[in-house]
């Protein structure tokens, strides 16, 4: 065994394997997120007394549900590290601090992808009026940009809240206002795709706004993440 400067690629792989193993053995985040989304769709189904939503309403219901489910994942993102000392273990090592950011961002992205694999079909089954297949290509574009926004903001807020004693309160309190523009842009961008008269064209204006918002918060998160980890 020989020691050298840790390679970012190797460290990232090790951190991602750790995240995967911890989640697969504890089921602390993804099942809660998925169950929450399906339950919420069922509640909307009965509350609205409709089973064929389309346009703005369909898009709004989908994105509000995904956003709240994502907040559950954001709250769990750093918990194992904070409670079991993984933060200190990482900080004691010479590994590049930004690798932790990448690993957490990719982990949250994986949470969201699994969530959407469950939530989108459930949404189509319980609430969506128009057929899902024609809408899917456009919806995937909106989901990708929306996920990017949730990932950068969620990673930033997760790192910010986890060292406080009120992280369960602080996480949603900070993340939800920051995620409002993501919700607004994604819901507006997704509405034509879920149109009652068939999937319409994606509105470029909302997609560009969402992409710019993602970019700005991506840069902010990258810039301040190391600072958040230190004392």
């Amino acid at each position: 065994m020989s020691a050298g400067a840790p390679q970012n690629r190797v460290v990232l792989g090790a951190l991602l394997r750790k995240e995967l193993r911890v989640e697969l053995r504890s089921f602390s985040a993804v099942p809660a997120m998925s169950l929450f989304s399906v339950t919420t769709f069922v509640l909307f189904h009965f509350a609205l007394q409709r089973n064929a939503l389309s346009d703005d309403l369909a898009s709004g219901v989908l994105w509000v549900t995904l956003l709240f489910a994502a907040v559950l994942g954001i709250n769990r993102l750093f918990v194992a590290d904070a409670e079991q000392g993984g933060f200190d273990g990482f900080l004691l090592s010479p590994a590049d601090r930004s690798v932790l950011l990448y690993s957490k961002a990719l982990t949250l992205l994986a949470y969201l992808l699994v969530l959407e694999l469950v939530a989108v079909p459930a949404f189509a089954l319980l609430l969506l009026g128009p057929a899902l297949w024609p809408a899917l290509p456009g919806l995937l574009v909106v989901l990708a940009l929306g996920d990017a926004g949730i990932v950068v903001i969620g990673t930033l807020v997760g790192a910010l809240a986890v060292r406080t004693s009120v992280r369960d309160l602080l996480g949603p309190m900070i993340s939800l206002p920051l995620l409002v523009p993501v919700l607004l842009c994604a819901a507006r961008a997704g509405a034509p795709v879920l149109g009652a008269g068939g999937a319409g064209a994606l509105p470029l204006r909302w997609l560009v706004t969402l992409a710019l918002y993602d970019l700005v918060f991506g840069l902010i998160t990258f810039a301040v993440f190391d600072f958040l980890l230190e004392d």
Binding site: M1, S2, G4, P6, L15, K18, V22, A80, G89, L92
Partner: protein, 236 residues
């Protein structure tokens, strides 16, 4: 009770000058000065809330000093934290291990963080603490003593020059204490800082003793100059 500052001329592994740290309004550590030569052992004693753990976390680069000067392994902290991370082994109250992972998986993770190739050293350390047989079970299924043995492996995995030990034998039975002795005891040859509540025990293995009360230095002397009875006074 003897007081003062020990002067050590050469090869200082630790140099603390007026080290101060507070948490908000509360002073955790005030004006602590001590030199520790490479290979020496500094024992830190004091009642609960004396600042012992804060001192260890400052030395480990996990906290930043609010006053004074701190040199660790020849580097000024916190400006050169990067230069000493990876050369320090910390064994504290928390094992810094993931409960859902096995001992081998935890050590594999830390090996990657420290740029180690392969898992030979992890295997050697697990064998040394008699944890090979349970090395693939999640830590949540192990006793606290077993987890502590794995934590010893984690702290030593990257062969650190400086060992920071906070009650290192907590949760260990006598047999396990014997197992870890060659790894973290005086025979390891490393510079060590040991936090303990056992004055008689640490006097036997320390070169210097630092007694803290409410963050301030009450005792600083060579271990040979002290007796355990005098150190018990720190706790009254």
């Amino acid at each position: 009770m003897p007081r003062g500052r020990l002067e050590v001329a050469t090869l200082a592994a630790l140099e603390l000058r007026g080290l101060t740290r507070h948490y908000g309004e509360r002073l955790a550590l005030a004006d602590v000065s001590v030199d520790v030569e490479a290979g020496q052992t500094l024992a830190v004693l004091g009642p609960n809330g004396a600042g012992k753990t804060t001192l260890l976390r400052l030395l480990a680069t996990l906290l930043r000093p609010h006053g004074g000067e701190l040199q660790v392994l020849g580097h000024t902290l916190p400006a050169e934290n990067w230069a000493v991370r990876g050369r320090i082994g910390l064994l504290g109250h928390e094992p810094l291990l993931y409960r859902e992972l096995s001992a081998r998986e935890n050590l594999g993770l830390y090996g990657a963080l420290h740029g180690l190739d392969g898992d030979e050293r992890a295997g050697e350390l697990l064998a040394a603490v008699a944890m090979e047989r349970r090395a693939d079970e999640p830590l949540r299924t192990l006793s606290r003593g077993m987890v502590q043995r794995v934590a010893v492996c984690r702290a030593l995995l990257h062969d650190p020059e400086l060992l920071l030990l906070d009650e290192p034998r907590a949760n260990l039975d006598p047999a396990a204490s014997e197992l870890v002795e060659p790894l973290i005891g005086r025979a390891s040859g490393r510079t060590r800082v040991i936090v303990s509540h056992d004055p008689a025990g640490v006097l036997a293995e320390a070169d210097l003793v630092l007694g803290l009360v409410r963050g301030r230095v009450h005792v600083l002397a060579g271990a040979a100059e002290l007796d355990a009875g005098a150190l018990v006074e720190l706790y009254r």
